[in-house]
């Protein structure tokens, strides 16, 4: 009953953010609002750019890639040098090269895969200046790509697709900073810590139990961590740590923050292409996939785990509580982790590795379907649009007409680019998983025995290639092998998808719009929603079913302990 109310509240809030945040985002990227004009002008002056000068898709992409590479270098340098810098109350040493490389790539690609425990590895300066900065910037870069693809569809015979620097700066200033400040205040009011004072030693006079409690600037990092679908937490325990996610309110707020921008972008899309119904059909597709995975996870976790039931402890009331916090229980834990794996957040409020096989299948499925339900900030929308192009192509093959999407003819070039962008992720995941399970450096990372050890490795590459960042965290990822292959998987999952996507946007922007006729295949109705859902499920299912069969599926059928 309480959980039904939580879900209903979530839906109501998301309907509001869909409509109003969606329209606000539209205004940001169409230059309709300018209340921070003064700050913008200063920045554009420092960059020496004309706010109204637009770029071709090639120049836009070049700016994006150069900016990301420079960001990786700066993040890497700050992590390496933290030992000699200030705001380091625990006197932590510089981070090792392989780990710094993995972490820098991870935060710049919006993945936030973490091969370290924050409280004992990162100084406050690193958390604030190195990692949190990328939590603002990397989702703003994702937004740029989504907006460019939307413009490509919306514009006619246009050689330009916008200006990367303007889109990036406006995204951070108008969307991420204001929303993060407001939600940060809610986090801290609920008990998330926000202090520059170091760890504190406490001693309980009743029991003489003593404990050193780490603290730090957590609450405001938490806000942008969820809002930017980043997921990299201050502490090792991430969103299950009481200092990150102290109450039921912060738990729901986290879920709302993760989902709000990716959901709202479907409205922005509809608004910018002049067909809000089209945006709604995308949203509906996302909602169906989300609900399916959530249902599976709730079912799995409420039925408890074999290790506990075979020890004769009844789990009828509570479900599988291993790795879960009492203040959330199984339902709110499953909801949070599903929201986090279906967006590209990857934060957790309960241990993914201790989920039941069905729960794990639900978590990994959201990623294997390409992170489109609703996906990461920006990346969710552009990925589902790539699938939409494949879906109209399939529809075109069936009826024997040149496929169209919103009046744009989809020809060989567009289908090739969309196909390429979609296939990068599965290829990366399967090849790296194959290598890892074949060699000792890969096998030795697995923590759990039996099929779950394989699932840990498969999950790691699925998560990194989708820029998600969640983990079956038993896997020991802080080795040269996992740090380096993981970083490559994250870069491929980010940039090897962005390049064909912006190329596609450029190619679509150049095209004329074909007027609607009787023979036009409509893409803003339920039939297309069904076709799109089917395409996403088929592509993901056909690619990954054999791998899943070796992992969670065999584990759930075997009823054994390993």
């Amino acid at each position: 009953m309480q959980f039904t109310l939580t879900i209903s509240t979530l839906c109501i809030i998301l309907i509001f953010t869909w409509r109003f945040l969606g329209s606000y985002i539209t205004a940001v990227y169409t230059n309709k609002i300018n209340y921070l004009r003064a700050a913008e002008r200063l920045i554009f002056k420092a960059l020496n750019i004309d706010q109204f000068g637009e770029q071709s898709w090639q120049r836009y992409t070049l700016s994006l890639v150069v900016f990301s590479i420079v960001s990786i270098f700066i993040t890497y340098a700050l992590l390496r040098l933290q030992g000699g810098l200030f705001l380091n109350p625990q006197h932590l040493a510089g981070v090792t090269p392989a780990l710094s490389f993995n972490t820098a790539v991870s935060f710049v690609t919006n993945t936030n895969w973490q091969n370290y425990a924050g409280e004992t590895t990162m100084s406050y300066l690193s958390q604030m200046v190195s990692l949190s900065v990328q939590q603002f910037v990397s989702p703003a870069v994702g937004m740029c790509v989504a907006v460019v693809l939307i413009r490509g569809i919306a514009r006619r015979e246009s050689k330009t697709v916008g200006n990367f620097w303007v889109d990036l700066v406006r995204g951070v200033l108008y969307i991420f900073l204001p929303l993060a400040i407001v939600s940060g205040i809610i986090f801290v009011s609920q008990g998330a810590v926000q202090t520059l004072a170091g760890p504190i030693l406490i001693k309980n006079s009743l029991t003489h139990f003593s404990q050193t409690i780490p603290r730090g600037p957590v609450a405001f990092m938490e806000a942008i961590k969820e809002l930017g679908t980043n997921g990299g937490g201050f502490f090792n325990a991430n969103g299950s740590h009481p200092f990150e996610n102290p109450t039921g309110t912060t738990n729901l707020l986290s879920i709302v923050l993760m989902l709000s921008i990716p959901v709202a972008l479907t409205y922005t899309f509809g608004k910018m292409v002049g067909n809000i119904k089209q945006g709604f059909i995308l949203l509906l597709t996302m909602a169906i996939l989300f609900a399916g995975c959530l249902g599976l996870a709730l079912y799995g976790e409420s039925h408890g785990s074999i290790a506990i039931s075979s020890s004769h402890v009844s789990q009828t009331i509570s479900g599988n509580m291993e790795g879960k916090e009492v203040r959330f229980g199984t339902s709110n834990s499953a909801l949070y982790n599903i929201a986090s794996t279906q967006t590209s957040t990857g934060s957790v409020n309960s241990a993914n590795d201790s989920y039941t096989p069905l729960g794990t299948t639900a978590l990994i499925s959201g990623m294997m379907l390409g992170e489109v339900s609703p996906g990461g900030v920006g990346s969710g929308l552009y990925t589902i649009l790539l699938f939409a192009i494949i879906a109209v192509f399939i529809a075109g093959l069936m009826v024997g007409r040149t496929p169209e999407l919103l009046g744009k003819k989809i020809q060989a070039k567009e289908v090739k680019l969309a196909g390429l962008a979609i296939l990068i992720m599965p290829i990366t995941v399967l090849v790296f998983t194959g290598i890892a399970v074949a060699i000792h450096a890969g096998q030795s990372g697995a923590f759990n025995r039996g099929p779950q050890g394989f699932t840990e490795i498969l999950y790691a590459y699925t998560s990194q290639a989708n820029n998600n960042g969640s983990a079956l965290a038993g896997l020991n990822g802080n080795t040269d092998f996992y740090n380096i292959t993981g970083a490559i998987a994250m870069m491929l999952g980010r940039f090897a998808v962005i390049l064909p996507t912006t190329a596609l946007a450029g190619s679509l922007a150049l095209k004329k719009t074909v007027p609607n006729s009787l023979g036009t295949f409509k893409t803003d109705n339920l039939l297309f929603g069904g076709l799109l859902t089917g395409t996403i499920v088929l592509v993901g299912g056909l690619t990954f079913f054999p791998a899943l069969a070796l992992g969670p599926i065999v584990q759930s059928l075997s009823h054994k302990v390993f």
């Binding site: 029991t207 600037p217 509580m321």
Partner: protein, 181 residues
Amino acid sequence: MLLQIRRSLILCFIFIFLCGIAYPLIGTGIAQTFFHYQANGEITKNGSYLIGQNWTGPKWFQGRPESDNAMASGPSNLGSSSKQLKTSVQQSASKLKREGIQPTPDLVTTSGSGLDPDISPQDAYAQVNAVSKYNHLPIQTVLSLVKSEIQQPQLGFLGSQYINVLKLNTALYKLEQSKNR
């Protein structure tokens, strides 16, 4: 290309100032001014209400069987069909039974943070008999103490019902003190 690199560098430093320095410092300012207690970790003289501690039963109500080492937060990561998990569940269960407590799922499993400060009402009810017997307190008094410490979900539906173990044991301590006086 050189132009892009120069712009990237300048912009990175602008973002470092805005998002990496101004944002967290303004946040810390707001937090320390308006939410001083919460922002510093709800520290009281016997510890933080948010961070779990070790309590030996049945002298005290015990929390979940984890190390409560706050410098190393995180879960066990043991899978749902892990033999190691089964062994540790069985050990916790037989320890509880020796203390006269019927095992509940929360009391034989570890949490996501390894620092869970709470137990569910069922976990506390299961301990009432043992705790009251050990401390020579009437069962009814301890039971009503437990009931008075139940935290309802926020707004009636956000999160689960729970009992904060530090608060419960502090109340238990006060009860013993008043009895001895």
